[in-house]
């Protein structure tokens, strides 16, 4: 196995572990108090004006009417078009949209590269002249690849200058934020140079994917190709280690907090979780708290100290 392949394998492993740790961290936090924020899109017939089932007389006796289609629509608009930022901050949206679309398309491009590699391994040709699915993959990979690079590059550069451009934004942007955006641009520039000069049809890169899947040597790679693979691999490992993997948190923020209007019912799952948490020991030290008791004890007993 070659060193460059090790870098890619390690990057994939680090990325996957980091994402898993992040998901685990958020998923294992105990049930919190309710903290939803309206509008909640699954409120059937009420989402449009920000209403909730709490508007109904004797709401606990009525069946919940949820509009999951509207929630999916809201999610799709948020993920694909960045609806929220479009409504509230057009300047950021102008650059954030191409940046994000570039990455989504980039994921599609990676999938096509892997699909192409599998096709090659199974004895089929992927090229302009291959015909049928081979040609389709060849062209689709090229279209998606170049589109992803251009959009991501433009978006990252735009966001970089947006951060740099105003005194206000500069004051809140740390060096790491500038570094992250420049890192994306560096990967994009290297990839573009590589594919314009060395591998315009992505055949070499697909060959590298074949070597990764089959655990065979990648063979000799041009300098630009090596640079693209190493930088791309590092980026793959780096994103999940930073705030840039906010898609994980965004899922939890929306589904567990912002849109979580699930009522607690007698004998239900939420009640059981809260009762479990009430046995946790309280360590807060202020005089009125009564340190060392459980939450259940602290909240049902009068404070001894009235400070």
């Amino acid at each position: 196995m070659e060193a460059i392949q090790l870098v890619t394998y390690a990057a994939v492993a680090i990325g996957l572990v980091a994402i898993t740790v992040k998901v685990f961290r958020y998923a294992t936090v105990p049930e919190s108090m309710r903290w939803e924020l309206y509008p909640v899109p699954h409120e059937k017939g009420r989402a449009e004006y920000g209403g909730s089932y709490l508007e109904e007389l004797d709401w606990w006796t009525k069946p919940r009417k949820k509009d999951m289609l509207n929630e999916l629509k809201e999610m799709a608009q948020e993920i694909l078009l960045l609806k929220g930022i479009f409504h509230h901050n057009k300047t950021v949206w102008t650059w954030s949209l191409p940046f994000h679309l570039g990455m989504y398309i980039g994921i599609g491009w990676l999938v096509l590269l892997i699909a192409g590699a599998i096709l090659t391994i199974t004895g089929n040709e992927v090229s302009q002249a291959a015909g049928g699915i081979g040609s389709l993959l060849h062209y689709a990979t090229m279209i998606l690849g170049y589109t992803a690079m251009v959009l991501t590059g433009i978006g990252a550069l735009g966001l970089f200058f947006w951060r740099l451009g105003s005194k206000q934004q500069r004051g809140y942007s740390a060096p790491i934020e500038f570094f992250n955006l420049l890192f994306f641009d560096a990967v994009v520039v290297v990839a573009l140079v590589c594919h314009f000069t060395v591998d315009p049809g992505f055949a070499v890169l697909r060959g590298y994917f074949v070597s990764l899947i089959t655990f065979t040597p990648a063979g000799e790679l041009a300098g630009w190709m090596q640079a693209e693979i190493i930088l791309g691999s590092v980026l793959l490992a780096y994103i999940p280690l930073t705030r840039m993997s906010h898609f994980v948190a965004k899922y939890f923020i929306y589904h567990n907090v912002r849109w979580n209007d699930e009522p607690n019912v007698k004998g239900g799952k939420i009640e059981a979780q809260i009762i479990k948490s009430l046995s946790r020991k309280v360590g807060w030290s202020a005089p009125h708290i009564q340190t060392g008791k459980t939450w259940g004890e602290v909240v049902t007993e009068e404070p001894e100290n009235e400070q």
Partner: protein, 538 residues
């Protein structure tokens, strides 16, 4: 220091007596007839008070942050704070809000979208220290530096190079009391981050670990409520005296003879009011009585300790105090054996009892809770009382309490009522769940000490006043046209009363304020005309 040059790391500067000074001339202009209004400057505290309280943030004081005299005392304070900070991120100590806390801490991309949504930031003339991100970023920097492995080493690169000293802590604590927790910023955040939540978590840290909290919320708030029965200090005995007065007043106003029911075991409804109504606006209590009696509901109030006051200031600063109060409410409801609890016109009580309380009222104490807006809609829309809307034929607008709308989605019931009974109703812009806070949220409405009232009138309440004025046409703003702003929430109502006083809007515009039930009773044909009084402002 000039506003535009202030950076988050300046929070720790010892060379500045005051980080920021409010310049009244920089505040946004109000609409006609206030286009020539000159906002008075913030009142300076006396030298004696300055010696006692730290004013190094903006000169305003609503939190008496203890002063330190020696380096040892400062070090001890910092050490305690950092211990508390660790607890804030632990499951045992903060399971109640850990999930939204870490999600918000981890994922802000610092796009500043929140700033444009914040009425305090906008109304202060965009004062940097009131920018929602300013406060949150300071907390994030401290956490990254002190709670993240290698945080100190990478501090410059990650932008976490902030000193934690006395000035940082005092100013940060006070900054947590310059936000009304309205959560308007959270609504616009593309990442779903919630600066309001972070503000409340900072308040919690100072309260639960260091015992630092505004006296109106703690000593005169939750502690007094648990000890005497109400944060107003109203004991069960005094309450009954007050009820006698209210019954007499009800008869004087309406000609009706009614008893306010108390402690009726097995009633369908336990109605819980904010006890502030009893003292400041007894007509609100009387109006509820008239409507519920006329509609033939089976209902009661409670005279049990805490059971007659829906207030829960723990919601604003302390989880333990919040839970202690809400569990008292649950116990009262359980003992009475009512079918449901209906919450009167009080926004934060709605949130405390229905939204947050949803996870606290457990097992046999999980008595269903409902908003009075819903109960009232049923009465009005199903014509259980007779109404004549022409009695309310004057311009009416409505303020949406943040807790009721943005945090709970209760928006239409009160609108259906007001559209039916007020021919000249008009909305504020924006309204519903996109409303602006009255400026008295998160406890500000009851904070009347030192020079804070001036701050909450000229800064946090400014946007709401602008909205109220804009709800009326230029002609309607004239003194000759009597007009009403409906604020179906006790604290919002108190804040709007203070705004009207500060801007002299009763004299200049004949702007009256009150709740929703007052408008309903004013339109009831069974009641003598003139329930809403136009010759009196209180």
């Amino acid at each position: 220091m000039s506003n535009e040059n202030i950076k988050p790391k300046d929070i720790s500067r010892k060379d500045l007596d005051q980080l920021f000074t409010i310049d009244p001339s920089k505040l946004p202009q109000l609409p006609y007839p206030y286009d020539d209004w000159e906002e008075p400057p913030m009142e300076e505290l006396s030298e004696t008070k300055k010696e006692k309280y730290d004013t190094s943030l903006d000169g305003a004081v609503n939190l008496a942050f203890p002063k330190v005299e020696t380096k040892e005392q400062e070090d001890e304070l910092v050490a305690k704070f950092l211990v508390g900070l660790r607890k804030l991120f632990s499951k045992d100590n903060n399971w109640t809000f850990l999930k939204p806390l870490i999600l918000t801490m981890d994922n802000c991309v610092k796009c500043n979208t929140c700033a444009e949504a914040c009425p305090v930031f906008e109304s202060s003339g965009k004062a940097e220290i009131y920018r929602p991100l300013f406060r949150s970023d300071i907390l994030r920097r401290i956490v990254r530096k002190h709670l993240t492995p290698g945080g100190k080493l990478a501090a410059k690169f990650t932008g976490s190079d902030i000193d934690v000293n006395y000035q940082t802590l005092s100013r940060l604590a006070q900054l947590a009391y310059r936000c009304t927790l309205c959560r308007r910023c959270a609504q616009t955040c593309p990442m779903g981050c919630d600066n309001g939540l972070l503000t409340r978590e900072i308040r919690k840290l100072f309260s639960q670990e260091l015992g630092i909290h505004p006296k109106e919320l703690h000593g005169d708030g939750t502690i007094k409520q648990l000890k005497t029965g109400s944060s107003t200090g109203l004991s069960p005995i005094a309450l009954m005296d007050l009820m006698e007065f209210a019954e007499e007043d009800l008869t004087d106003r309406t000609g009706l003879e009614m008893k306010i029911p108390f402690d009726k075991s097995g009633a369908d409804i336990l109605l819980i009011h904010n006890a502030g109504e009893f003292l400041s606006w007894p007509e609100n209590l009387e109006a509820f009585t008239i409507i519920f009696e006329a509609a033939g509901l089976s209902w009661t109030l409670s005279s049990e300790m805490v059971g007659y006051d829906s207030v829960n200031y723990g919601l604003f600063y302390d989880d333990a105090q919040y839970a202690r109060v809400t569990l008292k409410h649950a116990e009262v409801a359980r003992k009475l054996g009512v079918k449901k609890v209906v919450i009167g016109e009080c926004g934060h009580a709605h949130k405390a009892l229905m939204a947050i309380g949803d996870r606290i009222w457990l097992q046999e104490s999980n008595i269903p809770r409902e908003s009075c807006m819903t109960t009232l809609r049923d009465i009005v829309m199903n014509e259980k009382i007779m109404l004549d809307p022409s009695r309310n034929d004057f311009p009416v607008t409505m303020h949406d309490p943040c807790n009721l709308t943005r945090s709970m989605g209760i928006i239409e019931p009160q609108r259906e009522i007001i559209r039916k009974i007020c021919p000249q109703f008009r909305e504020m812009t924006p309204h519903g769940c996109e409303n602006y806070c009255c400026g008295g949220g998160s406890g500000f409405a009851i904070m009347q000490s030192h020079n804070f009232p001036r701050w909450k009138m000229s800064i946090s309440g400014r946007k709401k006043f602008e909205q109220i004025i804009n709800a009326y046409t230029r002609e309607e703003r004239a003194k000759e046209v009597k007009k009403y702003v409906c604020a179906p929430c006790s604290n919002c109502k108190g804040q709007i009363r203070d705004i009207i006083n500060h801007y002299d809007a009763w004299e200049k515009m004949t702007l009256q304020y009150g709740g929703l039930v007052e408008l309903i009773v004013n339109a009831m044909t069974d009641v003598r005309e003139g329930f809403i009084e136009w010759d009196d402002f209180h």
